[in-house]
């Protein structure tokens, strides 16, 4: 009985490690797909999503860009709303330096009317968005990136082999009060990239609304 148990366990371990080897091979073949989304250093997938002006927007449209601030954000979530002005400020400051904001609404508009395409248009107008605000139609892009919540930021740098993920996480260290921010995580990372340095704080965490 005991032997049988050991055999079963060993079999399970062999199966598990075989699975692990498979995973490694897969991720070497293509660092674009991972079940848990992107990690630092991965190549981010391009996408083509509908902007609030009705036109399709893709990362490959931005010839001049050195990289991108990809922000998963949405209309209904108060944590996301608290960051809207800060996201506009980031776009105004860093678009001229080569890092424009690309905002993506990952939520299913059928689950919350506030997140509909029409309401995205309205919200962008009210808040004076200076950047594309795209709908992740069919919710295909956010799982590839591994976004779990809004707001959720991916800072990408354009390199020879593609758009490389350099930073994942929060915009700064205060989701409540923009006047009491002590650490501007995202901005620090962009500054480091602009200075040709390695990003020192690569991932951070923040409270957010789960993507629905």
């Amino acid at each position: 009985m005991r032997t049988f148990k050991i055999l079963t366990v060993s079999a399970a371990i062999i199966a598990a490690s075989a699975f692990a080897v498979n995973n490694v091979v897969n991720s070497e073949e293509s660092s674009n797909s991972s079940e848990n989304g992107y990690h630092i250093g991965d190549t981010a997938a391009n996408f083509k999503l509908k902007n609030i002006d009705g036109k399709m927007v893709s990362l490959s449209d931005f010839d001049e860009a050195k990289g991108f601030i990809v922000v998963f954000t949405t209309n209904h979530c108060p944590y996301a709303k608290a960051y809207e002005n800060r996201i506009v400020a980031l776009d105004k400051k860093y678009k001229p330096k080569g890092y424009p904001v690309i905002a993506i609404n990952p939520n299913d508009p059928n689950k919350n009317e506030q997140d509909s395409f029409e309401n995205m248009q309205l919200r962008a107008k009210q808040k004076g968005f200076t950047f594309p605000y795209l709908l992740d139609e069919g919710q295909k892009i956010y799982p590839v990136y591994g976004a779990t919540k809004t707001p959720h930021v991916y800072l990408l740098q354009k390199e020879r082999k593609g758009n490389i993920v350099k930073y994942i996480g929060a915009i700064d260290d205060n989701y409540q009060d923009p006047n009491d921010v002590k650490e501007t995580f995202l901005e620090n990372a962009i500054q480091e990239l602009l200075a040709g340095k390695e990003v020192s704080v690569k991932t951070t965490k923040a409270i957010g609304c789960s993507i629905k």
Binding site: P78, K149, G169, A170, Q176, F185, S210, I211, K212
Partner: protein, 172 residues
């Protein structure tokens, strides 16, 4: 002015409910009058850890639809299960406490302890709740003196939650 009338009304309401069952009574007091606001260190220090009791700490907010969907599971559990205590940690914006959180708790007859967590440096405290939590709500922590487990998503059914709690109660 209106606010004070409301608060006075709530006090009277609670006093007039004093005759209800003893356990209910204590919880009712908690619910309608006192939602303490803590930072993370204060919250951590206040979390009880009595022997033979299982605690459920749920991170939620009044606007969060999946959170609100699973709230009845927690209140049911708190009411029906012995040796189980639910602590609802609200992550509503602190300036919404009066306008949203208090009325929500009142309206939905929440019988569990509600705490407002006001600690904007979430990058510092999220990993202390769980290394793998990235901050999306809802999220729930189960613990007792023997065990601790974190669930970074919504419970789909009451049964699912109950089964997890049973595992904790039976842990040796």
């Amino acid at each position: 002015m209106n606010k004070w009338i409301l608060i006075l009304g709530l006090i009277l309401l609670v006093i007039s409910c004093k005759d209800a069952g003893e356990k209910e009574n204590v919880k009712a007091d908690f619910q309608s009058l006192e939602i303490p606001t803590y930072n993370f260190n204060q919250l951590e220090a206040q979390l009880p850890n009595d022997e033979d009791k299982t605690y459920i700490v749920n991170f939620w907010a009044t606007w969060c639809a999946p959170c609100v969907e699973e709230l009845p599971y927690f209140t049911k559990l708190n009411k029906e299960e012995n040796n189980v205590e639910v602590i609802l940690v609200s992550l509503d914006m602190p300036n919404m406490k009066e306008s949203q959180l208090l009325p929500f708790v009142e309206k939905n007859n929440i019988n569990a302890k509600v705490i407002l967590l006001d600690d904007p440096r979430s990058n510092n405290w999220i990993p202390k709740v769980d290394e793998n939590w990235d901050g999306a709500i809802p999220a729930t922590l189960l613990y007792n003196t023997k065990n601790r487990e974190f669930y970074p998503e919504k419970f789909d059914t009451y049964q699912e939650l109950l089964e997890e709690v049973e595992k904790f109660k039976n842990a040796k």
